[in-house]
């Protein structure tokens, strides 16, 4: 890796950080449009004026919005995003107890899906127009076009209700044996994998087909190389960048799926904390959870960008 590439990568990282700053401002502004006073909302109608005034002081509600933004951002960056408005527990602790569960779910899903999606995507690009490709395209389009909870619901009906392979609910606490671990994770992971594989396969197929259209591939075909050889030896190395890009982008779609899957399977992860916090309007918790999700998303998009830069040898000279 030389200086030019290093600079390109650094620019990508800097862009991501700037975007994250913008996103944090947008998230803060979004939670600030709440009409009325947070202190009154928290303490209820019967609170004494002194109590409300005290909470206003504690939350810096009298300060202008930009001051509160920087106070909030500083607290967030130092790892202490305040206390929950509902049960007064520290937000950091709530998140720390749930985040590993979500990461585990997402990690296992990624490990399962990426190889399958890449294989299927490359194969359907090589055999494009064949029966295999058309069936795969129709199936992936159907999965991408329907809501995530429909896929999850179908999986529960088929695998838990009809086939009795897995339990319909999952609890990550108190897992003792490997067998139990498998049974609890299987259905959520399977559901998420269906969505992820469909997404990733479509993008991989598009990336490889794009490469197969270049003129040097036509040259290889014209000089009589075997189709499989053309695809794997000639096209694939040049498609690695776009494919890596597709993988990272698809993984970012995982975030939306995680929300639904954690709710359906009653999985104690971060997304469920977020949805519960939204329904009781626990703003500090909502802000912190949303920032974690947005930061993860931006990180994956940045990885996708960097993969694109690194895999392009023309940028190294």
């Amino acid at each position: 890796m030389n200086l030019a590439v290093l600079r390109l990568v650094l620019v990508r990282i800097a862009t991501a950080i700037l975007t994250l700053a913008f996103v944090s401002a947008a998230v803060f502004a979004g939670t600030e449009i709440l009409p009325g006073d947070v202190a009154e909302a928290v303490l209820g109608q019967n609170a004494t004026p002194e109590a409300i005034e005290g909470l206003r002081q504690a939350l810096h509600l009298d300060a202008p919005a930009y001051v509160r933004y920087f106070l909030w951002l500083g607290a967030l960056l130092s790892g202490d995003p305040g206390r929950s408005l509902v049960n007064n527990l520290p937000v950091a602790g709530l998140i720390a107890s749930r985040l590993p569960n979500s990461l585990m779910l997402a990690g296992v899903t990624a490990v399962v899906s990426v190889p399958i999606a890449l294989t299927l995507g490359i194969l359907s690009a090589i055999w494009r127009g064949s029966l295999f490709d058309r069936v795969a395209s129709f199936l992936t389009m159907s999965v991408v076009a329907v809501p995530e909870f429909l896929i999850a619901t179908l999986c529960v009906i088929i695998f838990a209700v009809h086939l009795h392979w897995f339990p319909a609910l999952s609890y990550a606490d108190g897992i003792v044996s490997l067998h139990q671990f498998f049974r609890v994770f299987a259905l959520p992971v399977f559901t998420l994998s269906c969505m992820l594989i469909a997404q990733m396969m479509r993008m991989t197929r598009a990336a490889v087909i794009d490469t197969l259209r270049s003129s040097y591939i036509e040259m290889a075909v014209l000089k009589g190389a075997q189709p499989m050889r053309v695809a794997l030896i000639h096209a694939l190395p040049n498609a690695i960048g776009p494919i890596a890009n597709a993988v990272a982008l698809s993984l970012s779609f995982l975030l939306g799926g995680v929300v639904i899957v954690e709710i359906i399977f009653n999985y104690p992860g971060l997304a469920r904390v977020l949805v519960d916090a939204v329904s009781v309007r626990d703003m500090p918790l909502v802000q912190a959870c949303v920032m974690i999700f947005c930061a993860t998303y931006l990180f994956l998009v940045m990885l996708a960008d960097i993969a694109g830069v690194l895999s392009n040898p023309r940028l190294r000279h």
Partner: protein, 287 residues
Amino acid sequence: MSVDQTITAVEAQAPPRHRVRLPLAGMIGAAIVAFWVVVAIIGPYIAPHDVGALVDDGFGPLRWGQPLGSDYLGRDVLSRILVGARYSIGVAAAATFLAILMGGTLGMLAAVSRGLVDMMLSRFFDGLISIPSKMSALIVVAALGSSIPVLIVTIAVIFTPGAFRIWRALAVNVNALDFVEVARARGEGTGYLIREEILPNIAGPVLTDFGLRFVFAVLLLSSLSFLGLGVQPPNADWGSLVRENMNGLAEAAAAVIVPALAIAILTIGVNLLIDNLPGRGSSAGEH
């Protein structure tokens, strides 16, 4: 560019009376979309029962009076789906329309104005687009609570950056063509350029974009409702219907399967239609 080519191709090949025909898949898509639009409009009038009326026990069986059985409280599922179409399709369509109105107008404005306006608008929307749509929706619902107007405006704002990008990109292409330069040299204003020169020339891809964004809006709305954060009881869209009846999942009750199926049929129908529109743009999975 592609619009010009399509027009020439149509003129050259097709006899005058013979209109451009949709492929079979496109026809099926169009039929599905038309069917649901009609249901959304007349749904409440053809519903056999009142949506709130208890007509049977919880998760009652399918029978003549209730072709799709009853839900967890014993309300008629068919009636609830017919009425729910109005929420699922109406809210999503209104939000999409609003998003296209805002994003499209600003996109064309950016393309025509160029320079500083273009750069600032583009950077701003680039920033907004990097918040996942579910996250933005959750923030607003947390802050304002959930009601139909809030949902429409929220979903519209969420899809505005995407609409802005597509419209700007399309308009930039047309804006570089000679006839726009001529109009500009003639001294026409920005409003005239957008209305008379740009808009007619990007109508095709823009229609596809409307369909795609409508699908995303339907999916986002039903996901929110499914999480209990979208359309609130006593009203119910299809996502809420699935949520209400999740307890019937173990018996594979029609009350939970049919609303989910309705969403799937609608979104796949729109996809089939826009994928087969003549002179379509790209429909890659982007939000």
